[in-house]
Symmetry: C2
Subunit: 199 residues, 2 copies
DNA sequence: TAGCAAGTTGACCGCCCGGTCCGTTTATTG
DNA sequence: CAATAAACGGACCGGGCGGTCAACTTGCTA
């Protein structure tokens, strides 16, 4: 089914160059950068980019897929951690740190049409659900918070910090801490709205 | 300086139509909708739109200016409220409710080049600082949180809720409650990063 | 080292966007 | 009601985008 003759040496190198250039460009200037700019940053022609990735969305999907898989690996490892509360916080820290982008919406947008990304995302979401369940049973997060809540809140620290004009690149840590405090059972006030359907 | 002959009746009506159509279109489909779509929704020609607003950004700025001024009015009124903690929560509720948009980034983007918006935003930010200071002195928010923090967190509930696929339009209330719990002094853990420079 | 498939490239295409312009319509007013 | 300035509308323009292609170059292999 997949004969997949191995890539020629230069082609493999160029593919890595393109992925790196695209990741940088997306991170620095948002999802609206042109493919021409990405190719230029990689030192390659636009045609080469389209030989490796049929579409701009495919390129984005390839990047996102890597990130999601890496994040999922961390999540699954943390399922065995001794302290479930600390494990969840660690997971959210890694998630925010690794995806230091101006616009994290790609999680949603890139999966829109790519089945691989959708599958990886669902796998990762399952890990989050488990992490949250464990933390809740352990009394580390409030009883009325679900995995879906945490998934939605996951990108918020980066989003919030991205609007501070002249801020340290680590400012997201502050907002992750505030939001995580909001997830703790101590001093929790009842929530005015039911959780969203599971993701 | 401003002779400003009053608008013709139809022109005034069309201006309102355009603002309403643009607000709806921006809210439903994001900032990237074309001016042609906005004009069509208003039942008018594209040329008419540009007669009232020299640029697409000017149209956005007009909408944003209205919202910011309205929000600021609420904020200033709440400065006299009996319970400073409840006042801050009420302000954040109004802010999130009134600006139920998929992308709130316009706060930053629209002010980028329009002096009126910048001024109105700064006025509104001052109100937030006062609300937060009062709430802090009253023990309703933790001591290590600043007005700038709250300004940045203000848009988060909408942002977070907007990524839930089939959710109630009021889901933001849930995340506002969680985040606000994170701002309370009870059970607060020390923050790992200093606050951003004041806005 | 010769031959060739794999890979590269940038000019090119069609599309859609924000913005302009001018012939036409219409509210106002004396 | 006539005259006029204000307002309207849509064909049109330049530009930048994602994506294609055919001529050219290059790594692999026998």
């Amino acid at each position: 089914m997949t004969p997949t003759r191995p890539l020629r040496a230069d082609a493999a190198r160029n593919r890595r160059l393109l992925l790196a250039a695209a990741a940088d460009e997306f991170a620095e200037r948002g999802l609206d950068v042109s493919v021409a700019d990405i190719a230029r940053r990689a030192g390659l022609g636009k045609g080469t980019l389209f030989r490796h990735f049929a579409t701009k969305d495919d390129l984005l999907a390839a990047i996102v897929l890597d990130r999601i898989d890496a994040l999922n690996a961390v999540g699954e490892q943390l399922l065995d951690a001794a302290d479930p509360g600390a494990a969840l916080l660690e997971f959210l820290t890694v998630a925010a740190d690794q995806q230091r982008q101006r616009d994290l919406s790609f999680l949603q947008e890139a999966g829109e049409l790519n089945a691989d990304v959708t599958r990886a995302r669902e796998r990762m979401f399952r890990s989050v659900h488990k992490l949250v369940d464990r933390a809740r049973e352990h009394g580390a997060v409030r009883a009325d918070v679900t995995g879906a809540d945490v998934i939605l809140l996951m990108c918020a620290p980066n989003y919030v910090a991205s609007y501070a004009p002249d801020a340290s690149p680590d400012l997201w840590q502050r907002y992750l801490a505030i939001i995580f405090d909001g997830l703790r059972p101590e001093g929790a006030h009842p929530l005015p709205h039911p959780p969203p359907p599971a993701l």
